[in-house]
């Protein structure tokens, strides 16, 4: 068990088995860690915004930093029209960030290292952005598939390429987060296994590697949450401000 680097990703059922019409809805360790992440966020934000001081204390300062970070990200990439979508993007960013960061704790479980979790989030964003685009612009939204200034001969070809490019959005969004998290955690486990098998004499080199990798993984955990949120903003920008 200890030597298998993929063992950390197994989903185990906690408590009784719940089955509704053949669909397994049991509470698993993945759901447990989603609940933990969500409640940590709520607790964190509650503690930070409990006393609304003019001169913030440490906790309030961190919460305000997160708020202004996301607010700046949205206004920089999607403009002022994207303001109503702030709650969604903020929750998305915080959820991905906290799932990644809680996954970095020993003995915990990384929810975002499962493609189904990231794919559902990415598909939700993709469908929502498409619907927003159609609501805001009607059938004119289809113009994003027809770039301006293209010769008529090439137009069908370019349109097909643009459609494939559009459809690849949820795939790249979800695969990026999932692959980074899974690869990082597998690598940490492999180096940890080296420490054990090389013992006191040779284990120091992989140990130093895994210390460095842990630092890198924390960076990646933040960066992937950031990229996930900023790409959502970019897609939202394409839907809100039609350029062609």
């Amino acid at each position: 068990m200890a030597s298998n680097p993929m063992h950390q990703f197994t989903v185990n059922r906690i408590g009784p088995e719940i089955k509704i019409e053949g669909i397994d809805l049991s509470f698993t360790n993945a759901s447990l860690f989603m609940v933990i992440s969500a409640s940590t966020i709520l607790l964190f934000l509650f503690l930070g915004s409990k006393e609304k001081k003019i001169i913030p204390d440490k906790m309030q300062f961190i919460v305000e930093m997160f708020y202004s970070f996301v607010a700046k990200m949205i206004s920089d990439t999607a403009g002022s029209k994207a303001k109503p979508y702030f709650p969604f993007i903020f929750s998305l960013f915080m959820f991905v960030l906290f799932c990644n960061m809680i996954g970095m704790l020993p003995y915990s479980f990384t929810v975002t290292s499962h493609i189904i979790v990231t794919l559902i989030m990415a598909l939700f964003i993709f469908i929502a952005v498409t619907i927003i685009g159609f609501i805001k612009h009607g059938f004119k939204y289809l113009r994003i598939f027809v770039p301006s200034g293209v010769p008529t001969v090439l137009l069908p070809l370019i349109t097909v390429i643009e459609i494939i490019s559009y459809l690849s959005r949820p795939v790249s969004l979800s695969v990026r987060l999932f692959a980074n998290m899974m690869a990082g955690h597998t690598m940490l486990k492999v180096f940890g296994g080296f420490v054990v098998s090389l013992g006191v004499l040779g284990g120091w080199l992989p140990l130093s590697f895994s210390v460095a990798l842990t630092g890198l993984e924390i960076l990646v955990a933040f960066l992937q949450a950031y990229v996930f949120a900023i790409l959502t903003c970019i897609y939202l920008n394409d839907a809100l401000n039609l350029h062609h």
């Binding site: 070809l157 097909v160 390429i161 643009e162 494939i164 490019s165 459809l167 690849s168 959005r169 795939v171 790249s172 695969v175 990026r176 692959a179 980074n180 960066l223 992937q224 950031y226 990229v227 900023i230 790409l231 970019i234």
Partner: protein, 92 residues
Amino acid sequence: MQEDFKTRLKIAKSKIKKQFDNDAEKRGSFMGTAFKLGTELVAAVAVGTIIGFILDSWFDTKPWLIIIFFFLGAAAGMLNVIKAANKMQKEK
């Protein structure tokens, strides 16, 4: 004269340090965008191939559409990367 040189050296050094700190801040967001490009290319190829596969089994034209859509997917991937790179250059 000696003192004058020392203060000038100090000012120059602090300027370089400031520049370096600024770059370190930017480097974080650059890394974020750099992580983006690789998957952007691969995802479009995968999506193109899957579309080709599905259309092939609909129209019974194996293996022509999968080949065509593989190349269209590759083109879409390059388009994705070019778009992302253009965006990065604009942000600079």
